[in-house]
């Protein structure tokens, strides 16, 4: 496999480091995601998985290193809203939805479109939106919950709703942080299926602990350890890697 160059990647990190109070959370991390690729990122607690997402989405600024989106846009110069507008969607570790809104309204607020307070105050609602909402709700298996409040959904359903909100944003790249934490086995399998469906049209980066789930995804795996890449390859290759077994799988 040829090494990825800047121009044909959707996401490109090179030599990224960030330190919190002397603790090096990310240490010279380099990573490249190709357009349309699905990638799983695994690693023990504290390996820097969530910090990496914070850097990509503009929540944390790296001390050094480069982060490029689509080969040319420097993400380290932008804030969360600007990065979201470029087409990077993020799902949090803990399902985060708007609890006092209905399921449909959650999706509606996420739909790609104008974001300024004035367009929200005076703009008319558009009808095409309703069809998009229906389509997304059916993708994330929530059609019959359309009018329920998000607060009344089960944990797994909230995870799906949040994934639906990401789809509504229509991002080029989806960052998904531990999507199956706290899900039943049936829900986990369903989520793997759902993510694979989504990966047909989007680049997806999944951070996950659950090895069975990562195996279900059937994609390339990157193992993080102490803020940098320890191994990369198919799930079988990394599971056989001795250093990986030592720091992570063996425990």
């Amino acid at each position: 496999m040829t090494s990825p160059t800047l121009t044909n990647t959707v996401l490109y990190l090179d030599g990224v480091s960030v330190t919190f109070d002397g603790f090096r959370a990310i240490n010279k991390l380099s990573l490249a995601i190709a357009p349309g690729e699905m990638r799983a990122i695994i690693g023990p607690n504290g390996a820097g998985k969530t910090t990496m997402m914070d850097i990509i989405t503009g929540k944390t600024r790296p001390d050094e290193g480069e982060v490029f989106f689509g080969g040319m846009i420097d993400l380290t110069m932008l804030d969360e809203a600007e990065i979201a507008a470029l087409g990077i969607g993020r799902k949090f570790q803990k399902p985060t939805v708007f609890e006092s809104h209905t399921v449909a309204d959650n999706i509606r607020l996420a739909l790609a479109g104008a974001r300024s307070p004035f367009s929200a105050l005076f703009g008319a609602r558009n009808r095409i939106a309703e069809e998009r909402i229906d389509a997304i709700l059916s993708t994330v298996r929530l059609t019959e919950h359309r009018t329920r409040l998000a607060a009344d959904l089960s944990h797994g359903q909230k995870q799906w709703l949040e994934i639906g909100m990401l789809l509504a944003q229509d991002p080029k790249l989806l960052l998904v942080d531990e999507p199956v934490a706290g899900m039943t086995d049936a829900e986990t399998a369903e989520t793997a299926h759902l993510l694979k469906e989504i990966a047909h049209e989007h680049s997806v980066v999944v951070v996950e602990h659950d090895m069975a789930f990562v195996r279900d995804l059937g994609c390339k795996v990157t193992v993080l350890h102490e803020g940098s890449v320890l191994a990369e390859g198919s799930i079988d290759a990394v599971s056989a890697n001795e250093r990986v077994i030592e720091v992570y799988l063996g425990r």
Binding site: T57, K59, E80, A81, A84, A85, G89, R90, F92, T96, V97, F98, E99, S100, H101, D105, R108, L109, A110, R115, S116, P117, A120, L121, F122, G123, R125, E130, E162, M165, Q169
Partner: protein
């Protein structure tokens, strides 16, 4: 999904009742005051008209506070500052209307400036003799302060209790500033001894009725503006920010802009409330900036029902009626009663009066639907 006309969509049951009550007040109170004999039990004496007007200006302040606290989670403990600034703008206009009728008889300078041996009017008093200018300042001064303060606070992502504390500090700082005689705004005595408003005596019965009706109209308009905002997509984003701020940000919304619009509109509403309050009570002084006032306003909203608009207005009127009665009957008990009220509401009525009633009705409706469904199912069998 068909879209209802905007005005209809805005008006739910509570809103219709609320506006109906306001309309009735605007008509019946002046009629009763003017035409019923004083012996009639339904007669509303003039002092009571102004007292009611004062409650309703507090209701507008509560409404303004509910817009930011109830819908956007911004717990401002300094909204009294915007109210007081609007009040001072109106007070300055009223002072300029006194003209040479002050105790010292100076043709231009208010009494307190003569007393301090000032020779001329400070620059910031110019224009306040013109009502439209003063009215503009009632909106502009609180609005501008909220804009600058909010811009700095929201851009730096100050939220939660930290934001509450700095709003409190803001009103406290303003109180200290307004206490100083050098401010040229009357020091600790404030502005008082008003004579005319728009050429009519502020003491006259007709003026008092007109001020009352103006307050009712302002409250109705304030409700309309707030209700329009919270039912629009903008309002949905506000609630989204309240529930999950970072999620909203990662969806691409500029959270600070949304908060800034709500905070500024709310401050202007509070300014209007203050401007209507001052001619009806006849005085504005720095104690209106006191942090306790702003906290009291938070209690009104909590009692009435946060995030309901109507509840905030209702809470302001109910709590202030209780206050008027209790400070008359047992003055030393009021602060304890206020504290107890806050605790009781937080523990037993977390959604306030209106919120709890609405919830109860929803529940009843749900059981009724379930019952009908049950009966239908039985019939089908």
């Amino acid at each position: 999904m068909t879209r209802r006309p905007i005005l209809l969509a805005m008006l739910d049951g509570k809103g219709a009742i609320f506006l109906g009550v306001l309309a009735a007040l605007a008509v019946l109170v002046p009629l009763s005051n003017l035409f019923l004999p004083e012996t009639s039990p339904l007669h509303v004496p003039t002092y009571a008209v102004s007292l009611l007007g004062k409650y309703l200006s507090y209701a507008l302040l509560a409404l303004a506070l509910d817009l930011v606290w109830g819908y956007c989670g911004i717990l401002s403990l300094g909204h009294g500052a915007f109210f007081a600034l609007g009040g001072y703008a109106m007070g300055m206009y009223l002072m300029r209307q006194i003209g040479p009728r002050g105790v010292y008889g100076h043709p231009v300078l208010p009494d307190f400036m003569v007393f301090l041996n000032w020779q001329e009017l400070p620059w910031y008093w110019s224009g306040f003799d013109i009502f439209p200018f003063a009215a503009l300042m009632v909106l502009a001064v609180p609005g501008l302060l909220a804009l600058v303060f909010g811009w700095l606070a929201f851009r730096s992502r100050v939220t939660g209790v930290y934001l509450s504390i700095i709003t409190q500090a803001m009103t406290f700082a303003l109180m200290l500033a307004f206490f100083r005689n050098d401010m040229g705004l009357g020091g600790n005595n404030g502005l008082t001894d008003f004579k005319d408003i728009l050429g009519f005596s502020v003491q006259a019965q007709g003026t008092r009725l007109a001020l009352f009706v103006a307050t009712v109209i302002a409250l109705a308009l304030g409700y309309g503006v707030a209700r329009y905002m919270v039912t629009s997509t903008y309002g949905k984003v506000l609630i989204a920010i309240r529930d999950a701020e970072s999620r909203t940000r990662f969806l691409g919304y500029r959270v600070e802009h949304y908060k800034l619009v709500a905070f500024t509109v709310s401050a202007m509403m509070a300014g209007v409330a203050g401007a209507l309050y001052v001619p009806q009570v006849g005085i504005i002084n720095p104690s209106e900036f006191s942090p306790a006032n702003s906290i009291e306003a938070v209690v009104w909203v909590a009692v009435g029902g946060r995030g309901t608009l109507v509840g905030a207005a209702l809470g302001a009127v109910v709590v202030n009626m209780a206050k008027s009665w209790l400070t008359g009957a047992l003055p030393e008990l009021w602060l304890f009663a206020l504290g107890a009220l806050f605790i009781v509401v937080t523990l037993y009525l977390p959604k306030g009066i209106v919120g709890t009633l609405a919830e109860r009705r929803e529940k009843r409706k749900a059981t009724a639907t379930a019952k009908t469904a049950g009966i239908a199912a039985e019939a089908a069998e």
